[in-house]
C-alpha cells in the first residue's frame, strides 16, 4: 500500500445531558475542525465527503442523517451514514480515501442517550424477535450474563472490575469533556445499587449526550493542512456470532481476530511493549479486563491482574483510557469515534492534563452489539 492517510483535526463536545438538538451537537464539533484546518465544504476545495455515524433508534428518526445534513456539508455534497459505532465510520472513511474516491473526509458521530426515556428500550430491539426479545433481554442483561461467565471462568472479582471504574473516574477528572467524573472508591462501586448481578449502577456508563468529529486526509493534502499529523497505521474489525450462547462469553474471539489483523497491518508484534496508550470502549466495568485480554495486552484471564498491578493506569506500562473512557460517560455511537479522537490528541501531544508523555503509537477501539458482537480496532501513529 502506497497511500497514507492522516487525522488532521479532531473535536468533541462535552459529554453531559442537554437540550441541544442532534444537528447542533454535531455542528459544535464540525465548526471546530473546520476552523482549525481552514477547510470548507466548497466543491473540490476542501472536504470531499462526509461519513457520519448515527442510529435511527437513538435519534428516533428514520434516516437519522437527514437531520444533520445541513451541518456536515450535505448541500449537494457526498455523505454516507454508518449505522454502528463511530469507530466503524473512521474505518470506512479511511478506506474511502485509500480507494481514491475522496481525499479529505469529515467523520462525525453523535448520540443523545437522554432523548429516549430509557436506553434499555432501544437495546431490547437489538435482539431477535423470536427467541430473545420476548424474554425481555437488553444490552444490560446480556452484559451481566457475559460478566458472570467471564468472572466465573477466570476468577475475576467485582473488586477488580470496580478498579476500572475508579480509574476511569480518576482519569476523567483530567478531561475537560467529561462532566460525570467523581471521587469514588472501589467500595462505592461495590455498594452501588445492583441492577443486573454482577453489574451494579456504577459499573455502567452514565447517560450522556455528545458528538465527535474528525477530519481524515491523504498524505499530500494532509501535510498542507498541519504539521502535527496522526497516521492511520492499521485497521480491522470482526463480527462474532449473534446468539449469546453460541460462543463462550468468557472470551472475545472477534476482538482477538480484529486486533491481530490491525497489528499485522501496523507491524506490531508485541502490543504491550509497542503501544503507548489505548482508548477502549468499555460500557461496563468488566469489559476493561476482558477487552484488554482480547487486545493481547495480557493473557486470557489475566485482565484483572493487569488492573491490580496498575499496568493500565496513568504512568503504567500501557495507560488505558486516560480520558476516563466510556465508563465516565460517552454515549453509544459517539464512543468509538471519541476513542479515536482521544488517541489523536495523545499522539499530537495535545491531551493536556491527561497526556501520556511521549506517546507515539496508540490504539483506539470501538464495539457494537450486546456482548461485543463487532469489534473495530485502529492503530494510530505519529
Amino acid at each position: 500500500m502506497t497511500k497514507k492517510v492522516a487525522i488532521v483535526a479532531v473535536a468533541q463536545t462535552k459529554y453531559e445531558e442537554n437540550y441541544y438538538r442532534q444537528s447542533e451537537l454535531v455542528y459544535q464539533c464540525v465548526e471546530k475542525v473546520l476552523d482549525e484546518t481552514g477547510l470548507t465544504f466548497e466543491e473540490g476545495k476542501g472536504i470531499d465527503a462526509a461519513v457520519t455515524a448515527s442510529d435511527d433508534f437513538w435519534d428516533a428518526r428514520t434516516i437519522s442523517n437527514t437531520a444533520i445534513g445541513d451541518v456536515v456539508g450535505a448541500h449537494y455534497g457526498t455523505e454516507e451514514k454508518v449505522a454502528q459505532d463511530g469507530a466503524q465510520a473512521a474505518f470506512y472513511a479511511y478506506m474511502e480515501i485509500l480507494s481514491g474516491h475522496s481525499d479529505i473526509v469529515l467523520v462525525t458521530a453523535h448520540c443523545k442517550e437522554s432523548q429516549p426515556v430509557s436506553r434499555n428500550l432501544i437495546t431490547n430491539a437489538g435482539f431477535d424477535p423470536y427467541f430473545q426479545r420476548p424474554l425481555g433481554l437488553d444490552h444490560l442483561v446480556a452484559a451481566a450474563l457475559q460478566a458472570r461467565r467471564y468472572m466465573h471462568t477466570y476468577g475475576i472479582t467485582r473488586g477488580q472490575c470496580a478498579k476500572a471504574v475508579v480509574k476511569s473516574h480518576k482519569n476523567g477528572k483530567n478531561n475537560p469533556y467529561v462532566t460525570k467524573a467523581r471521587d469514588i472508591t472501589v467500595e462505592d462501586v461495590l455498594n452501588s445499587k445492583m441492577l443486573a448481578s454482577p453489574i451494579s449502577e456504577l459499573d455502567i456508563h452514565p447517560v450522556t449526550d455528545g458528538a465527535c468529529a474528525l477530519i481524515l486526509a491523504e498524505e499530500e493534502k494532509a501535510k498542507k493542512i498541519t504539521d502535527n499529523l496522526v497516521w492511520m497505521k492499521g485497521v480491522s474489525n470482526c463480527y462474532d456470532a449473534f446468539y449469546l450462547g453460541d460462543r463462550d462469553l468468557a472470551n472475545c474471539d472477534s476482538l482477538v481476530s480484529a486486533a491481530k489483523r490491525a497489528y499485522k497491518m501496523a507491524g506490531i508484534q508485541n502490543p504491550l511493549k509497542e503501544i503507548d496508550v489505548a482508548e477502549i470502549s468499555t460500557r461496563y466495568s468488566y469489559r476493561e479486563p476482558l477487552w484488554t485480554e482480547g487486545l493481547g495486552f495480557c493473557g486470557r484471564g489475566e485482565g484483572g491482574k493487569l488492573l491490580d498491578e496498575g499496568v493500565t493506569k496513568m504512568g503504567g506500562e500501557i495507560p488505558v483510557n486516560p480520558s476516563g473512557g466510556v465508563l465516565v460517560g460517552c454515549p453509544y455511537i459517539t464512543a468509538g469515534l471519541a476513542r479515536v479522537a482521544e488517541i489523536a490528541l495523545q499522539l499530537r501531544g495535545e491531551a493536556g492534563a491527561r497526556q501520556v508523555s511521549g506517546a507515539e503509537i496508540g490504539l483506539a477501539h470501538g464495539t457494537s452489539g450486546p456482548c461485543g458482537q463487532l469489534h473495530c480496532v485502529l492503530i494510530l501513529g505519529k
Partner: protein, 152 residues
C-alpha cells in the same frame, strides 16, 4: 449559539416513537415452535458440515452457510452456563423484577440459549447447576411456552 442561549430557550417536549411490528416465524421456526406448543419438545438443528447442534435452531449455519434441516430432539434438561438477577423494571419485561435470566446448554446441544430461571433462590444459583424446563399449561407457539427453567 452560546450556552447561555441554550439555557434560556432550550427545553424538551415529551413525545414518542410508536410503530407496530409483526415478525413472521417462517416455515423453519414454525416447526420448532409448533413442536414446542403441541408436544413440549425442544428441537435443535445439526450442521452436518460443522457437526454442531444449534439451539436456538436456525435454518442456516452462520459459520459455513450450509442449509440446515437435520432436526435433533434435545433434552428438557441442561446445564447453566451463566445467570443474572435483574432488579430494574422495563415495560417489555415478561415479569416484575427480580427476574432471573440464564444461559442454558441443553443436553444434546452444542450451544447455550437464553431463558428465564424460576423456582430458585437467587443465592443458590451457580454456574454448572442442572436445570430443567417447566412448560406452561396453555402454550401459544412462543418462546414463553417454556415458563422457565428450574433447578433439578
Amino acid at each position: 449559539m452560546s450556552r447561555k442561549e441554550h439555557d434560556k430557550w432550550a427545553y424538551s417536549i415529551p413525545g414518542k416513537l410508536a410503530l407496530n411490528y409483526i415478525y413472521y416465524l417462517g416455515d423453519f421456526n414454525t416447526k420448532f415452535f409448533t413442536e414446542l406448543r403441541d408436544n413440549k419438545k425442544i428441537l435443535g438443528v445439526k450442521c452436518p458440515k460443522c457437526n454442531r447442534v444449534y439451539m436456538p435452531p436456525r435454518p442456516v449455519c452462520g459459520r459455513c452457510l450450509s442449509k440446515l434441516d437435520e432436526w435433533v430432539e434435545l433434552s428438557d434438561k441442561g446445564t447453566l452456563l451463566s445467570y443474572t438477577v435483574v432488579n430494574y423494571s422495563e415495560p417489555y419485561q415478561p415479569a416484575a423484577p427480580p427476574i432471573i435470566y440464564g444461559i442454558i446448554k441443553l443436553d444434546g446441544a452444542d450451544t447455550g440459549f437464553t431463558h428465564l430461571l424460576g423456582e430458585v433462590d437467587a443465592e443458590k444459583l451457580r454456574i454448572g447447576m442442572r436445570v430443567q424446563a417447566v412448560f406452561k399449561d396453555k402454550r401459544e407457539a412462543s418462546i414463553q411456552d417454556i415458563k422457565y427453567f428450574k433447578p433439578i
